[in-house]
Amino acid sequence: MIPEIGHFSIILALWVSVAQTLICFGGAVRSSPRLIAFPRYSSYVIFLLTLAGFCCLATSFLVDDFSVLNVASNSNSQLPWPYKLAASWGSHEGSLLLWVLMLSGWMSAVSLFSKQMPDEMRSLILGVMSAIAIGFYLFMLLTSNPFDRLLPPAVDGRDLNPLLQDPGMVIHPPMLYMGYVGFSVVFAFAIGALISGKLDSTWARWSRPWTTAAWCFLTVGIALGSWWAYYELGWGGWWFWDPVENASFMPWLCGTALIHSLSVTEKRGSFKIWTVLLSIITFSLSLLGTFLVRSGVLTSVHAFATDPERGVFILGFLIVVIGASLLLFAWRAPKVGLGGNFNFISRESALLANNVLLVVAAASVLLGTLYPLFLDAMGLGKISVGPPYFDAIFFPLMAPAMFLMGIGPVLRWKNAKTLELATKLKWAFAISLVSAIIVPILMGGWSVFVSIGLLLGFWIVVSGLVNLLEQIRRIRMGSERTIFQVINSLPRSYYGMLVAHFGVAVFIFGVTLVKGYEEERDVKLAVGGSVELSGYRFSLASLDDLIGPNYNGIKGTVFVHGADGKLVSTLYPEKRFYHVQSMPMTEAAIDTGFFRDLYVSLGEALEDGSWVVRVYLKPFVDWIWGGAFLMALGGLLAISDKKYRSKRRSVPNQATVSS
């Protein structure tokens, strides 16, 4: 009964979405106030119906209703309950339901937080969003219904893929999807603005918090995925340039570019055409990501069973949505006027360069991800594009972007003076340079790569601090305020920018130091044996049998002693064997620290009873994810800025300060 209720509420949600779309566009054409007011309420209805559907599915998973095909294929009575819940979005069908749940959630949020917006505009935006929702509801109901019954019911389920049985995996997909789907809001704003022709700084101001919000979720989602890969795949890597990772990274790069170009459009009225195109591209890449993952076109760690029917549907949907919006763009863009002029050395051109670099980076990821597919489609053979390609392009593309990150916020809008810039930043550069030379020597091994990485990191931090001091000094001049009052008076969006940029710096420190100084050893260890790795002694104390709820395995006990002979940590790496899917899994054991991770994973058992064991020392590796979370925190600070909450236009002192 419960699955049928769920199924029914999804069908209802589809019909309400159809009604909302028709009414919104009809209302826009006939400019009828009554029609235009409709979506404010129907959005909530769609959300509640979808939520009901989702709860029904989750319930089926929690009560082990194996008469539901989706439950039987992706869960098992022995599965611990948090994973049962996570399994409800672990499958293809369930993840689509999660997707529409989030879409309807974002729709309600737009309805809730857009009271100041003209009714016609809001109606257009919600109409675009419900049109997208129709596509996904249809996709789900026609090709991948999560509520399909299995008759006769299975005795027990086939279990969730063991790789996904992990706390990180429980929250990674929702976060990622919140990001993907969140860009649909920005997309809808862009389409609404194109249709109504009101492509102005007001539009940019409305779009900004939504873009930032979606970007924060995506950032956290990607970081969680990377962190999961680090400890779950057992290879100690944190990014593999896997097609599915790339699918989430491309919208992130474009979204980052969008955040910056929106600031120019809001503050200066420039880049309007570019910003609107970027909004469309960002969401298109989110859709493309869904297509790549869900159609099985690319095989990767995440690949689900291939199903051309589903692929055809998503691709058709992709073509309609993206094709129509690009056509609309081509039709309307020529009518958009050009924005304010600016000089070669100005904040605008720094942000333009940032955009070019980020978009080229996204395009090169797209090339590397799709090119093997192209060759295959042309029958020209099979190739793969591996990490070396991405490494080779990312460093030279991102290094100038990082350098600009230090300069941009200091530059003035429209027209900046080179000399003034040099005076402001020469000390910042000197400090960064000296630190970049000294720190690697202190770390015990100097290399060009580490030095350049650290230079960029220090440069971002120091120039950010210089910028902050400069702001404080400028406001204090000719005013009686204390330093604390001044610090308090700076807008949150400004701090958001600083924190996000510091996050990038922290990320760079992490990447640089872990690449430069990580150590790895694969050794054969018997119980009682030990191995030394840069001052740490890892000794395998025992190997014990392990019995888990839905697996059994071997659990090793590894003592780690420091150079002084003191016990630093005790680690318990595991090798599990999941019964239902008869799949072995390596569970690494990690001692996480602020300055280093100690990482042990069990490789293979050898005939004589010893094991091949992999040990890593990974300095500063957690800074990688710490940096990503700081970036997201910066975004959160920026959204919480009061200018997005009040009706007032920008407050005078904010207009001059970057955000």
Partner: protein
């Protein structure tokens, strides 16, 4: 400078930046494509020297050997026509098995064996990695055309 000139200068700068970046991307792309070859193509000497490539096929049963250190392994990969020896230092993936499909990435050594720096076995229930299937398919086409 007049606004027109400024805009022109800006466009030229952006174009220069984009072309520079594109050049860089394409160069990196060209030198980092990893081509895929079958063991037969390797034996016939059709593979590039001093460049990484991938081979695929089935792990020959009983061919997996481990050196005393437990970490260096060697095994043979076959496309059913020819087999080549692969050496690898490190931990094999969880789903690596004799008689099953495998893909290895690495270089050819001077004595004709393949030194892998990466061994891939898919992390799912799929029967065979696509590249391994491709190797067997090509081998069959060769046999059929003979």
């Amino acid at each position: 400078m007049k606004p027109r000139q400024k805009r022109l200068l800006l466009i030229i700068a952006v174009l220069a930046l984009v072309s520079l970046a594109a050049l860089l991307v394409l160069k990196a792309f060209k030198s980092n494509l990893v081509f895929f070859y079958t063991p037969t193509e390797v034996v016939e000497g059709k593979v590039p020297v001093a460049r990484a490539f991938r081979i695929g096929g089935m792990v020959v049963d009983g061919s997996l050997q481990r050196k005393q250190d437990g970490v260096s392994v060697s095994f043979s990969v076959t496309d059913t026509i020819h087999a080549i020896d692969v050496t690898y230092e490190g931990i094999l993936p969880d789903l690596f098995q004799e008689g099953k499909g495998v893909v290895a990435q690495g270089r050819l050594s001077e004595n004709g064996s393949f030194i892998a720096d990466q061994v891939l076995a898919k992390h799912d229930e799929n029967y065979m990695p696509p590249e391994a299937a491709e190797a067997l398919k090509r081998a069959r086409e060769m046999k059929l055309s003979e």
